[in-house]
C-alpha cells in the first residue's frame, strides 16, 4: 500500500506544478514562437550550459583523475593500447572542446533579437567537401593505427615458449590450470566433472596428468593466480555454465568464456605486483581508498591485480573475482614447483 502512497504523491506533484504556473500567472498571450526576452534569457543560459559541460569535463579530468586505472599498463601489449587510447582520447577532447564551443556560441550569437534577419544559406559544396574529407583522413589514420594495434595484441602465434594457462569460469568463481611440464593442456569437457575433478579434465588424455590445478595455497585464504614477468602468457578460456568474461583491466585484457568452446587471449606481464605497488598512480589511488576505508572503519588494503567477471552471469556476478600475482620469473618458477600436478594429487 505504501507504493500507492508514493504514486499519489507523484500525481499530486504533477497537479501542483501545473497549478504553480497558473498561480504565478506565467502563461503569456499571443506570440507563439518565442519573444525577444525569451530568446535573450535562453541564449545566455545556453552559454551557461556550455560552461557547465566544460566544468564537468575539467572537474572530471582533474578531480576524478586518481580514480582511473593506473596509467602504467601491466602488460607489454597493453602499452600499445594505451598509446592508441591517449591519441584517440586527445583527439576526442580537442574536437569536443571546439565543436561544443562553436555550437553554443552560434546559438548565443544568433539568438533572435533586434529584428535579426536570417541568412538564406542552403548549400556550399566547398564547405561540405571540407568536412567530409577531413574526418575521412583523420579516420583513415585512426583505422590503420587501430588495426595495427589490434593485430599486434591479438596475434600470439610467434610467441617463444609461452606459458599456457587455462581459466575456467563458473557461477560464481574462477578456476585455473597450468599446462605443466609438457606445456600442453589435457582435454576437458563438462561430462568428466565428478567429485574433485571440478574442471572436467579428461584423465585418459596423456597431456592431463602433468597439468597443475590452482588451489588455495598454504596459509592463504583465497586462490592466487601467479604469472611470470616478461614471459608471454596464453590463456585458454572455458566456461562451465553461462557466458562469463575474463577481464583483467590492469593488463588491458579481456575475453569472453563461452560454454562449448575454448577462447583465447594472450599478453606478456611487464610489471610485477611489487613494482606496481610502488607506482605513483597506484599509490595515490590506494592512499585515497584507504582514507575512505578508514572513515568507514574498514581495514586498509594493498594493491593487487584482479581478474573480474565482465559478462552478466547471475545473482553474484558482481562478486566473481580472482587475485592475480605477477612475480619475477625465477620466483614464479619456484612457486609453480611447489604446486601439485594432477598426478601428484591423486
Amino acid at each position: 500500500m505504501k507504493a500507492l502512497f508514493f504514486i499519489i504523491i507523484f500525481v499530486v506533484l504533477i497537479v501542483a506544478s501545473w497549478q504553480f504556473v497558473k498561480l504565478l500567472g506565467l502563461t503569456k498571450v499571443d506570440d507563439q514562437t518565442a519573444t525577444e526576452k525569451e530568446n535573450n534569457i535562453n541564449g545566455w543560459l545556453m552559454l551557461g550550459l556550455m560552461a557547465f559541460i566544460y566544468g564537468l569535463m575539467l572537474n572530471s579530468l582533474i578531480g576524478h583523475k586518481d580514480v582511473l586505472l593506473p596509467q602504467l599498463s601491466a602488460s607489454a601489449e597493453g602499452h600499445h593500447i594505451d598509446v592508441l587510447f591517449k591519441l584517440t582520447m586527445g583527439l576526442i577532447l580537442v574536437v569536443q572542446f571546439i565543436i561544443q564551443f562553436i555550437l553554443f556560441f552560434f546559438t548565443f550569437k544568433y539568438r533572435g533579437i533586434h529584428n535579426r534577419k536570417a541568412y538564406f544559406f542552403a548549400d556550399s559544396h566547398k564547405l561540405e567537401t571540407i568536412w567530409t574529407v577531413i574526418p575521412t583522413i583523420v579516420l583513415s589514420g585512426l583505422i590503420i593505427y587501430g588495426l595495427w594495434t589490434w593485430n599486434h595484441v591479438m596475434d600470439s602465434s610467434d610467441a617463444e615458449n609461452p606459458l599456457i594457462v587455462e581459466l575456467y569460469a563458473k557461477q560464481f568463481q574462477w578456476e585455473a590450470r597450468y599446462a605443466g611440464a609438457d606445456n600442453e593442456l589435457g582435454n576437458a569437457n563438462v561430462r568428466f566433472i565428478e567429485g574433485l575433478n571440478t574442471m572436467g579434465v579428461d584423465f585418459s588424455d596423456k597431456n592431463a596428468s602433468d597439468d597443475v590445478p590452482l588451489t588455495v595455497g598454504e596459509g592463504k585464504f583465497v586462490k592466487e593466480l601467479h604469472l611470470p614477468k616478461d614471459r608471454k602468457v596464453i590463456f585458454k578460456l572455458r566456461s562451465q555454465d553461462v557466458l562469463h568474461s575474463a577481464y583483467m583491466p590492469h593488463f588491458r585484457a579481456q575475453m569472453n568464456c563461452v560454454p562449448g568452446m575454448v577462447t583465447e587471449m594472450a599478453f606478456t606481464p611487464s610489471v610485477t605486483t611489487a613494482e606496481m605497488r610502488l607506482d605513483k598512480d597506484t599509490q595515490a589511488k590506494f592512499k585515497h581508498i584507504n582514507v575512505l576505508r578508514k572513515e568507514k572503519g574498514e581495514e586498509e588494503v594493498e594493491f593487487d591485480y584482479l581478474l573480474l567477471c565482465n559478462k552478466i552471469c547471475g545473482s553474484s556476478h558482481y562478486n566473481m573475482q580472482l587475485k592475480i600475482v605477477v612475480d619475477e620469473e625465477p620466483d614464479f618458477n619456484k612457486w609453480l614447483a611447489t604446486q601439485k600436478t594432477f598426478a601428484q594429487t591423486k
Binding site: 550550459l49 586505472l69 533572435g112 555454465d241 553461462v242 569472453n256
Partner: protein, 589 residues
C-alpha cells in the same frame, strides 16, 4: 477513404481508431506511460548503486519481497536494469518515437489523407499495446521479470536454473517482444508504402522534409533487421522449451550435465546484434529527422546541405547493417572479422560528422527562436556530439578490449542514443503538440523542463565515463566486493543525485503535457510559421486531413528567409509554404 462521412462512435474514434492522428496520440501516450516506468526503475537502481547498504522505504514499497528491509536483492537489481533497457530502447524510443511521429507526420507532411492501410496501422498499435501489457505484467510474477540483461544472451536467458528471471519472466519477455516485432513490422511496411505511393502532386522525393526521409529510411532498416531478432527469439524459445541446442552446448549446472550439445551462444549474439545495432539507428534517425526540421524552422533558415543530409541518412542506414560485430570484439569471434567490423564502424563517423556540421551551419547566421522544441534540438546536437565522439574508442577493436562492458559503454550509448533520442522526442512533442491537440504547451514549464533535464543528463552521464575508465564493469549489483572501486563512491552519489533531479524534472513535463491537452491556450493554424504541409490542415482534426482537395506542392520544405532580387523577403514574410507556386523571377532551390 470510404468512411469519410461515417458516423463515429466513441470506440471507433478513441479506441479502435484507424485515423493516423489518433493512432499517433495512442502511441505517444502509451510511450509516455512506459517511459515513466522505465525512468522510475532507473532511479531505483541508481539509489542502490550510490547507497548499496542503505535502506529506502520507496524500494520496499515498490519491490515488495525483492526489496525487503528497503534493500533490493541482486536478482531484482538485474531485473530492473534488464527491463529498464528493454522498455527504453523498444517501447519508448522505437514505438514511442517512430510510432508517434511517423504516424502523425507521414500522411500530413507528404499530403496524404491517411496511411496506406488504416486497418494495419490500427492492428500495429494494438499489438504494441498488447506487448506493453505483457511486458509490464511480467513485473508482477513470483519468479521476477527477465533478468539476463536487455541483450538476453543465452545460456543465462535460456536456463531457469542459472537465474530465477529466466523462468516465466523470460517467457513473457520473449512473447512480448515477438508481438512487439510484429507490430513494428506492420507499422514499418505501412510507412514505406505510404511514402512511396501517396505523396501529393508535386511532392517529389527530393522535396520531402527531412523528417519524412528519416522515418522512411528508419522503416526500411526496421523491415530488414527486426525479422532477424524474431528468428533469434524463436530459436531461443525452441532451446528453452523444446530441447533443441541452437545456442547451448556442454553445460554443467546445478550438479548435472545438461543434454545440450553443439550449439553456440555466439550465434545468438550475431543474430541479436544484426538487429541490435541497426536498432540504435532506428532510434536515432527519427530524432535526427525531427531535429533537422525544428532547427530549420526556428533558425528561420533552410536546413544546410539538404541533399548531403539525405545521403548521410542513407549512408548511415546502409553502414548500420554491417557493423554489428563491434559489439562482439571480445566474444571469441575471429580477430580478422574484428578488423573488418572496426573498419566499417569507424566509417559511420563520416556521415555522422557531416550531419553534425550541417546542423551547426544551419543555426549559423540564423534568427534563432528559443522555444522549448528548439532548446531540445540544440541539446540533441550537443549530446549527440559528446556521446558520438567516444564511439571512436568503442568502435576501435583494440581500444574496446579494455572498456568493453564497462560503464564507459553505458555513458557512451546513453548520451548518443538515449539522451539524444529522448531530446529529439521532446523536441517533436513540443513542436507538434499544437498539431496533435490544437493547443499550445506551456512554454515556461517547457523551459524549466529543458534546463533541469539537460543539466541532469550531462551530470549523470559525463562523470560515468570515468567510472568506466576506472574499470568498473556494468551490471554489478554493487562494487563493495572490490576495494579498488571504493573511491568511486563519490561519483556514484553525484550521478544518482543528478539522476533523481532528471527523473523528477519529468513531472514538470507530465503536468505540462496532460494539462495542456485540455487547458492549454488555443493554437493558431501555423504557430511556428513553418513551411511544411501539416500546418495547412485545419486545427480541428478531421478524417482525411484536408477539407477539400489535397494541396499540390511546388517547392521544397525549407524556403525560410528567402530574398527576392531586390534583397527583400519574398512576400514580406520569412517563410514560404510548400504549397506556394514558384513566383516570377524566383529560382527554385
Amino acid at each position: 477513404m470510404s468512411d469519410h462521412h461515417h458516423k463515429e462512435t466513441f470506440v471507433t474514434k478513441y479506441i479502435f481508431s484507424q485515423d493516423h492522428k489518433m493512432i499517433s496520440k495512442q502511441y505517444l501516450i502509451t510511450g509516455i506511460i512506459m517511459g515513466v516506468i522505465g525512468v522510475f526503475m532507473s532511479m531505483l537502481f541508481r539509489l542502490q548503486l550510490a547507497y548499496p547498504e542503505q535502506s529506502f522505504s520507496i524500494i520496499e514499497a515498490f519491490l515488495g519481497r525483492a526489496g525487503e528491509g528497503g534493500v533490493m536483492t541482486p536478482d531484482m537489481y538485474l531485473s530492473l536494469v534488464t527491463i529498464h533497457g528493454t522498455i527504453m530502447v523498444f517501447f519508448v524510443l522505437t514505438a514511442g518515437l517512430s510510432g508517434t511521429f511517423s504516424n502523425l507526420l507521414i500522411p500530413l507532411q507528404i499530403g496524404a489523407r491517411d496511411m496506406a492501410s488504416g486497418f494495419l496501422n490500427m492492428v500495429s498499435y494494438w499489438l504494441f499495446f498488447l506487448s506493453s501489457v505483457i511486458m509490464v505484467a511480467s513485473l508482477f510474477i513470483e519468479t521476477g521479470p527477465a533478468s539476463a540483461g536487455w541483450t538476453i544472451y543465452p545460456p543465462l536467458s535460456a536456463l531457469p536454473q542459472a537465474i530465477a528471471g529466466s523462468g516465466l519472466g523470460m517467457t513473457l519477455w520473449l512473447i512480448s517482444m515477438a508481438i512487439f516485432i510484429a507490430s513494428s513490422l506492420l507499422g514499418a511496411l505501412n510507412y514505406i508504402v505510404t511514402v512511396l505511393n501517396l505523396r501529393t502532386k508535386g511532392m517529389k522525393m527530393t522535396r520531402l522534409p527531412l523528417t519524412i526521409w528519416a522515418f522512411f529510411v528508419t522503416a526500411i532498416i526496421g523491415v530488414v533487421s527486426f525479422p532477424v531478432l524474431l528468428s533469434a527469439a524463436l530459436l531461443l524459445i525452441f532451446d528453452r522449451s523444446f530441447g533443441t541446442s541452437f545456442y547451448l552446448s556442454d553445460i554443467y549446472l546445478a550438479g548435472e550435465v545438461l543434454h545440450y550439445k553443439g550449439g553456440s551462444p555466439v550465434l545468438f549474439e550475431h543474430l541479436f546484434w544484426f538487429l541490435g545495432h541497426p536498432e540504435v539507428y532506428i532510434v536515432i534517425l527519427p530524432a535526427m529527422g525531427i531535429v533537422s526540421e525544428v532547427l530549420a524552422v526556428n533558425s528561420r533558415k533552410p536546413i544546410f546541405g539538404y541533399r548531403a543530409m539525405i545521403i548521410s541518412i542513407i549512408a548511415i542506414a546502409f553502414l548500420s547493417t554491417i557493423v554489428w560485430g563491434h559489439h562482439m570484439f571480445v566474444t571469441g569471434m575471429n580477430p580478422f572479422l574484428g578488423s573488418v567490423f572496426t573498419f566499417t564502424t569507424l566509417l559511420i563517423a563520416i556521415p555522422s560528422a557531416v550531419k553534425s556540421f550541417n546542423w551547426i551551419t544551419t543555426i549559423w547566421k540564423g534568427n534563432i527562436q528559443m522555444n522549448p522544441a528548439m532548446l531540445y534540438s540544440i541539446g540533441f546536437v550537443s549530446t549527440f556530439i559528446t556521446g558520438g565522439l567516444t564511439g571512436l574508442i568503442l568502435g576501435d577493436s583494440a581500444l574496446d578490449i579494455n572498456v568493453h562492458d564497462t560503464y564507459f559503454v553505458i555513458a557512451h550509448f546513453h548520451l548518443v542514443m538515449g539522451v539524444s533520442a529522448i531530446f529529439g522526442m521532446f523536441a517533436g512533442v513540443y513542436h507538434w503538440f499544437p498539431k496533435m491537440y490544437g493547443r499550445m504547451m506551456n512554454k515556461d514549464l517547457g523551459y524549466l523542463h529543458f534546463w533541469l533535464t539537460a543539466i541532469a543528463a550531462y551530470g549523470v552521464f559525463f562523470p560515468m565515463h570515468f567510472v568506466g575508465l576506472a574499470g568498473l564493469p556494468r551490471r554489478y549489483y554493487n562494487n563493495t566486493a572490490f576495494p579498488i572501486f571504493d573511491d568511486l563512491a563519490d561519483i556514484n552519489k553525484l550521478m544518482t543525485v543528478f539522476a533523481i533531479i532528471g527523473g523528477l524534472a519529468q513531472i514538470i513535463f507530465l503536468a505540462n503535457f496532460f494539462f495542456s491537452i485540455s487547458k492549454g491556450k488555443k493554437a493558431s493554424k501555423n504557430p511556428w510559421k513553418a513551411n511544411t504541409l501539416e500546418w495547412t490542415t485545419p486545427i480541428e482534426h478531421m478524417h482525411g486531413n484536408w477539407p477539400g482537395e489535397i494541396p499540390a506542392v511546388h517547392r521544397w520544405a525549407y524556403d525560410y528567409s528567402k530574398l527576392d532580387e531586390n534583397g527583400e523577403l519574398w512576400g514580406g514574410q520569412d517563410f514560404t509554404l510548400q504549397t506556394v507556386p514558384i513566383r516570377n523571377g524566383e529560382e527554385e532551390f
